[in-house]
Amino acid sequence: MKLKRNFAKVEEILKKHNYRQDNLIKILLDIQKEYRYLPEDVINYIGVALDIPPAKIYGVATFYAQFSLKPKGKYTISVCDGTACHMAGSTSLIESIREELKISPGNVTEDLLFSLDQVGCLGACALAPAMVINEEVYGNLTPEKVKEIIKNLKERERKNESA
């Protein structure tokens, strides 16, 4: 039954975008918001619904940096590696996250709580080095601050679980 429910959600998204082929990118962005990645069966489903070969959709999904074919974490951490952030030491932020979560960029923790990405410019250069966790921007970071932020999120999750 679970599958059915999932596709109802996909249908809703397809409907919102009028089943238009040129809205494919918008549809995929919305699907990704829903599932945190692009599941293969959903790609096939969209292919049938929009009359686009799944291979073509796969081509689009692999072309754009925003899309992921692997599950992402509940908290997606995007560390900016734009010019200003790179010069301000974004690499050390990645290192501290690697220490804290034991994952490297492009991967997700085993409990599916955190995933880490290194992205191009976020446009928050004045706050370099910066990162984004689920659309919330954190600026002027240091490796210590990053660890602090992640620890707080872990703590929050723990509280939610026990509650």
């Binding site: 040129d22 410019c121 921007v137 600026g139």
Partner: protein
């Protein structure tokens, strides 16, 4: 909400809003910046705190101001993100920076109730080290020429009424009334406006070609895919004045005869997307977008398309493919989009900032517009400045301003303890300019002769601590990842060039590599299919031109700036080492050996040069050779 049905109604509505706005600025109103920079520092919470405070005082009946008056406004980026969050209190014009939640009450009590400034929150002008009450008094403010960013800090970014109160949509109405598209094109041609996306193609000519192209359907597209690392002026503009861009698009659509528009904005800019979405909605509700606008025969509809993170989509043909829902792969031109763009129809595609210029040109006329800037590049340009300078953020200057003026007069010079080595301008497709070129006037042509380009308008200041080879490697890392892979020179060439640069930074570079690098860069530039590949070698070519000595130093085994870790060698000075063992405990690789009470030593084979021991040692016994 009122719906405007005729042009006269609209004109009257604007007059009303003008009076309202004048009143608003003479009355007590609080503007809170909610641009990405300030929002990241918690400005939205400050906005909410002010709202709550006003509600509270209203409940407690200690409300000294007239009721039913919404006095807390959202304003867009003031361009000084490094000193955010900003709060501006009118009518006094006090500019408060780095405001925290706990300051809200004090601002309320001191400024709103008594009209006094809260001294400690006022902006400190780095030029004089004095606090300034109004932003207009600060040197960095005087040194700029605000044109696109008029009314900085005093305009609401999410209100169509406020925009109309600033005379917004008057240019569009003027164009509608006159109904002479050719005249509009003539004005834009005379104004000499050049595309702000970076290449600087004359906008008037682009419009003319699109207008004269035959097609049943035509489109206008706004290019807001600002993927350059270190550039964020399009984002700022969309966040602070979305209606100006929208009005520019409306005028463009009317002039070339398009009924449909697309605004392509990066999905990484959620605030900008939200602001633009609201702008479209408000304009629709007011009757400025839709069928038979204001009773004329002109109909227009607009959609936002979000980019999904591909730098190459800033290239116009790739962007159009992306709007069609395909992979963003460029195609050779001609035919230009002006002749055959979206779905093969004539398409007008301009940058965000280009569109924002249009209403102002129509308002002021071509001659007045040309008074700013230099003959070949009239007008102003927004730049984003980052790096080790005292003030980072968005600036707006006339073309012809020099880098020296920007860095020293506007940005207050370099941060303490840093010396300037170079300036990187124009993003990954731009170039690194040496200190000798600081007095070069910035315009499309002068930069071209220096091997750079205005590009997106990102300026990154690089200090003496930065290694130029590493900078080139960083940009190549970016462009090789972002290459769409369609043509071989770009796909394979950038990869090879990157590997050579990596060899240099890892202390493995040779003279042969240097020759190959020069050859490759030149080849990629000449043989690539689109703008990405043609400009991607610019960082290499410019660093080779101005900083070749650094490459040679890397071959000789030295990184002059000390940035490349491969050249570092950590060793322990036995005379200073107290034998406490702190370094050995901090070493992640166990490369430091010895026993307590005696000098320790570092095993070079195991050392990964992370610098942990250097940071930990209290006796400065660890030295970098």
């Amino acid at each position: 909400m009122k719906v405007l049905k005729t042009i006269d109604e609209a004109l009257q509505y604007i007059e009303e809003k003008k009076i309202e706005r004048k009143k608003k600025l003479e009355d007590i109103n609080i503007f809170v910046c909610i641009g990405t920079g300030c929002a990241a520092k918690g400005s939205v919470k400050i906005y909410d705190a002010f709202k709550d405070l006003f509600k509270e005082t209203k409940r407690a009946k200690v409300y000294p101001l007239e009721e039913n008056n919404n006095r807390i406004k959202k304003t867009g980026c003031c361009g000084r993100c490094s000193s955010g969050p900003w709060v501006i209190v009118m009518p006094y014009g006090y500019f408060y920076c780095e405001v925290r939640l706990e300051d809200v009450k004090e601002i309320y009590e001191e400024t709103i109730l008594k009209g006094k400034a809260v001294e400690r929150l006022l902006f400190v002008d780095p030029a004089t080290s004095q606090r300034v009450e109004k932003l207009e008094d600060a040197k960095f403010f005087k040194a700029q020429s605000f044109y696109i960013m008029e009314d900085i800090g005093k305009c609401e970014c999410d209100s169509i009424d406020d925009y109309m109160g600033r005379g917004g949509y008057l240019s569009f109405l003027k164009v509608l009334v006159e109904n002479k598209p050719d005249k509009v094109i003539q004005i834009i041609k005379d104004s000499g406006l050049r595309g702000r996306g970076g290449a600087g193609f004359p906008t008037g000519i682009k419009w003319e070609i699109t207008k004269n192209s035959k097609g049943d359907r035509k489109f206008v597209v706004c290019n807001g895919d600002e993927g350059d690392p270190g550039a964020f002026m399009n984002r700022t503009l969309l966040e602070r004045d979305p209606h100006a861009v929208l009005e520019g698009m409306l005028i463009g659509a009317y002039t070339i005869g398009a009924n449909k528009g697309y605004a392509y904005i990066r999905a990484e800019y959620p605030v900008a997307v939200e602001m633009f979405r609201k702008a479209i909605e408000d304009a629709k509700n007011l009757g400025l977008i839709g069928e038979n606008i204001l009773g004329t025969s002109f109909s227009f509809d607009i959609e936002i398309k979000e980019g999904a993170g591909a730098f190459v989509c800033g290239e116009e043909t790739a962007l159009l493919a992306s709007i069609e829902g395909k992979r963003g792969i460029p195609r050779p031109r001609p035919p230009y989009p002006a002749q055959a763009g979206l779905w093969g129809c004539p398409t007008l595609i301009n940058n965000v900032e280009t569109y924002a210029n249009i209403p102002k040109i129509i308002r002021d006329g071509a001659e007045a517009y040309r008074k700013r800037g230099v003959p070949n590049s009239p007008g102003t340009k927004m730049f984003s400045v980052t790096g080790p300078v005292k003030l980072t953020g968005i600036i707006e200057v006339e073309f012809g301003t020099t880098l020296r003026e920007i860095i020293y007069d506007i940005c207050g010079g370099l941060s303490d303890g840093d010396e300037l080595k170079a300036v990187q301008i124009g993003g990954p497709s731009g170039a690194c300019l040496s200190e000798a070129l600081l007095d070069l006037p910035l315009d499309y042509d002068s930069l071209k002769t220096a091997g750079a380009m205005v590009g997106s308008g990102g300026i990154v200041v690089l200090s003496k601590k930065t290694c130029m080879v590493e900078v080139a490697r960083f940009f190549l890392d970016f462009t090789k990842r972002e290459s769409c892979g369609k043509c071989i020179p770009c796909r394979e060439g950038l990869m090879q060039a990157y590997h050579i640069l990596e060899k240099f930074t890892q202390a493995k570079g040779s003279w042969e590599d240097l020759e190959n690098l020069e050859f490759l860069a030149d080849l990629i530039k000449k043989a690539s299919a689109c703008g990405l590949g043609q400009t991607a070698p610019n960082p290499i070519l410019s660093t080779l031109r101005f900083f070749k000595d650094e490459y040679i130093a890397h071959i000789d085994g030295v990184c002059p700036s000390g940035m490349c870790t491969a050249f570092k060698k950590y060793s322990i000075n036995p005379d200073l080492c107290k034998g406490c063992g702190l370094c050995a405990r901090s070493c992640p690789k166990g490369a430091i050996l010895g026993e307590r009470g005696r000098p320790y030593r570092i095993e070079q084979e195991k050392c990964i040069k992370c610098g942990a021991c250097f940071d930990k040692c209290k006796f400065k016994a660890i030295e970098i050779i």
